[in-house]
Symmetry: C2
Subunit: 115 residues, 2 copies
């Protein structure tokens, strides 16, 4: 069982990349399925922490978006973890709506395997 430590690192101390982004792995807190990987900038992380729901930076659309803003498949945040290098987030969520995290209508974006 993973022993999770509380730490006094502040969100401002995390390492965003040269584009000001950080990968966020989204995991279902109940099933432990990995649902998706999306990107956060500082503002997306702040909004996520303030609202308790996941917000991301869309690299293709060039804007912030809340997960589920159109589909209703929101993600309520249970826990925000960060890795040893403080450059990747692991966010445990409780899904709203139909619990279909992928825009294709699948439960997870990782629904295919390599041959």
């Amino acid at each position: 069982m993973l022993d999770i430590e509380r730490d006094d690192l502040q969100p401002q101390q995390l390492s965003f990349n040269a584009q000001g982004l950080m990968p966020a792995i989204i995991q279902d807190v109940e099933t432990k399925d990995v649902l998706m990987l999306a990107w956060m900038n500082r503002e997306a992380l702040e909004r996520s922490l303030q609202t308790g729901y996941t917000w991301f930076w869309s690299r293709s659309r060039g804007r912030l978006w809340q997960k589920g803003e159109e589909s209703g498949n929101t993600q309520s945040i249970e826990s925000v973890r960060y890795d040893c290098d403080a450059d990747t987030l692991l966010i445990l969520v409780r899904q709203g709506g139909d619990k279909l995290a992928c825009h294709t209508g699948k439960p997870s974006c990782f629904y295919r395997t390599l041959n």
Copy 2:
């Protein structure tokens, strides 16, 4: 329960980023804990598929490395999934050694939470 599809996409068709890299989320197939996120280039992915163990590209050291090559905490690959955009991998592994995936000696790199 996630229904995983077999797909005829080939590794060569995956989307690597401008640096030739792709994030790979590593998940323990037994506990479903997310262990780490590391980066693969085409060669790392090919070696991983050929050997059945995870290989990554170290951005800091500028070379390929096999997970566990020094620590013995190897990762035997059970399944390689890719996401809807084909630009992120989710690799399910069975851990060898002491099952301590993080270089800090922790079971997972995600052992801390934000305040």
